[in-house]
């Protein structure tokens, strides 16, 4: 069945479909539809109790007193074994960074949605992609990573949110769904999944009372000499596996392209429109659209043609640009076009830039 | 008729039990324990009227769970 949803609603519906049984959030534009949708549609959200019978998972919805409280509620719910999510937008996500660091350090699964808006500071409520560094470079303290997934359409927002919950549980890491205000607000038809999700609350490490077992402890504090290094190396080992197995991207016309546009999320949609115009005029233009921003997909950048050039497009002043340069390793030219603070590079600006590069 | 057994190696020498024993039966040691601290010793005078009454005040106030009380 297809229904018409906004990107924000699709993320919320995707979470419910994935068996998200705990949501805590705090209002902030442009992601308010997520919190409202969760309040309305999470099963049994009014009772505020997650589980009624044995093994019967039902939802808890809490409007938290702040983003700090929201992310720490997600910490608690995840520690208790629930599939837990919060959502916010840039300033709120900044507030959550400490909690995200604790979630990563405590090896807890969680899904965090950032529908980015303009910054720095209070910025504005226009769409932006200027939180890329914060998302992919561990925005809080310490050596850690989030898996960062960047949907480019409403259907993908729905699908990737579900993938996010699975990855979070599989690797016991926080996963971020990174969108922007355009993706959050625009409406598109979404094919709903009919897959029945079986979410087991049984996680051997989770806190549910130590009946018949030794006590479980959820913590990120390792004071004894060498203990933190050991714990961090364990995280790094996990990250290496994720980097090997979980990169995602879309490639278009890579075999014959002379200029390859690199863009993610909303920016990639505009890039695609520019490409279809350019190709109908006979220009050989391709696209790499990273879907996982961390781990960043290096593989599509190993194109043999030494004359291929890259043009990175962002709704920021050049953040993913650094990852593209690292992937290319100085072997190819990398150009950049970006706007921020509410400005979005247009199809026309992209086409003009491509023509200069060609 | 009662007595206490003190885990001397865990004692941190705060001497709160010494202060609260109503019969004055707990004394500071002159020796040091594993932690390098003066610990406390149970020093009853057997048969004396000042003997331990098992009031448990020493155990209740001990921050380090060093005392076990028998009665």
């Amino acid at each position: 069945m297809k229904i018409l949803l906004s990107g924000n609603e699709a993320i919320a519906q995707g979470a419910i479909q994935a068996g998200c049984s705990f949501y805590a959030g705090y209002p902030i534009t442009p992601q308010n539809e997520i919190i409202a949708y969760m309040a309305k549609h999470m099963p049994s959200s009014r009772t505020g109790v997650c589980r009624t019978g044995k093994g019967q998972s039902q939802g808890v919805f809490i409007q938290a007193e702040s983003e700090l409280a929201a992310i720490n509620m997600v910490y608690g719910a995840s520690a208790a074994g629930a599939r837990a999510m919060t959502s916010s937008s840039s300033p709120g996500i900044s507030l959550m960074q400490e909690g995200i660091s604790y979630i990563a350090g405590s090896q807890l699964p969680a899904v965090i949605v950032n529908i980015m808006r303009g910054g720095p500071g209070l910025g504005n409520i226009a769409p932006a992609q200027s939180d890329y560094f914060q998302a992919t470079r561990s925005g809080g303290h310490g050596d850690y990573h989030l898996i960062v997934l960047a949907p480019a359409c409403v259907q993908e927002a729905y699908d990737l949110t579900q993938t996010g919950f699975d990855l979070a549980d599989r690797y016991r890491v926080p996963v971020m769904i990174l969108g922007d205000g355009i993706l959050g607000q625009m409406m598109e038809p979404v094919q709903l999944s009919t897959k029945k999700i079986k979410v087991s609350l049984a996680k051997s490490w989770a806190l549910d009372g130590c009946q018949g077992r030794k006590p479980n402890i959820i913590k990120s504090f390792f004071l004894r000499e060498g203990a933190l290094e050991d714990a961090n190396l364990k995280l790094q080992k996990n990250y290496a596996i994720i980097q090997q197995k979980e990169t995602r991207y879309e490639g278009l016309f890579l075999s014959d392209a002379k200029v390859i546009l690199v863009a993610y999320g909303t920016m990639a949609r505009i890039a695609k429109s520019a490409i279809s115009q350019l190709r109908s005029a006979g220009k050989k233009i391709g696209l790499i659209r990273p879907i996982s921003l961390w781990p960043f997909p290096q593989q599509p950048f190993s194109i043999k043609n030494s004359r291929v050039k890259y043009l990175v497009l962002e709704m920021s002043y050049g953040q993913m640009l650094e990852d593209v340069r690292l992937a290319v390793g100085g072997r190819r030219e990398v150009e950049f076009l970006g706007r921020s603070g509410g400005g979005v590079p247009s199809e026309e600006q992209i086409i003009n830039k491509v023509k200069k590069i060609l | 008729m009662a007595k206490i057994i003190i885990n001397q190696d865990k004692c941190k020498g705060c001497f709160l039990c010494v202060n609260f024993c109503p019969k004055g039966l707990i004394k500071k040691s002159v020796k040091l324990n594993k932690q390098g601290l003066n610990f406390v010793e149970f020093s009853p005078k057997a048969g004396d009227s000042t003997d331990c009454i098992g009031c448990m005040q020493c155990a209740v106030i001990c921050p380090d769970c060093c005392s076990e009380v028998y009665k």
Partner: protein
Amino acid sequence: MEKIFKRCQSLYDVPTHYCPGCGHGIAHRLVAEVVDELDIREKTIGIAPVGCAVVAYDYWNFDCSEAAHGRALAVATAIKRVHPQNVVFTYQGDGDLAAIGTNETIHAANRGENLSVVFINNAVYGMTGGQLAPTTLLGQKTSTSIEGREKKAHGYPLKISEMLALLPGVCYIERVSLQSPPEVLKAKRAIKQAFENQINNLGFSLVEILSPCPTYWGLSPKESLDWIRDVMQKEFPLGRIK
């Protein structure tokens, strides 16, 4: 002879990292005794704070979670909502509960979360070296109020328990003290009440414990208990607040 006072099952038989005469050791034991007496060790989940009691989970023999500084009640809220059949409590110091975590404290209480809170008030930041706490008394010297707390510069000792008592979601608040063995026994009764309230689904319960910090009060352990009795209890009167 029968053993009439022994170490309880909910407390590991290990030495703690606390200073000689520190009240945390007593308060940890009281919580463990209550858990044993209510026979809830296998359904209890404790939340350790950031502060001197940060590794409380190394001493308690039941499930525990860490929480970021001040966020214990946000973490506890979620755990209790996910597992309403479990008994969930936080153990927090004055800096954690009444400074950095005031917001979480007030809102968890105001939502009437069915939780038990053990609040250790020792009028000072212990772990970081004896700085001014929200509950530091007027005139009390700390490393950041060198001449003593002065109302114009530092404000007044924060009476968070009295503030919380105003909230309709709060079911029970009592202030107790560790200044003598009889008071310690009263403190235990209050903790037990707070746990029983949760088991009976009555809502938010908090026990504020006036607890000695000999190291940063610059007093001997016994002098510290006397200071609680003679000075601290005048500012923070004992008894049932709600």
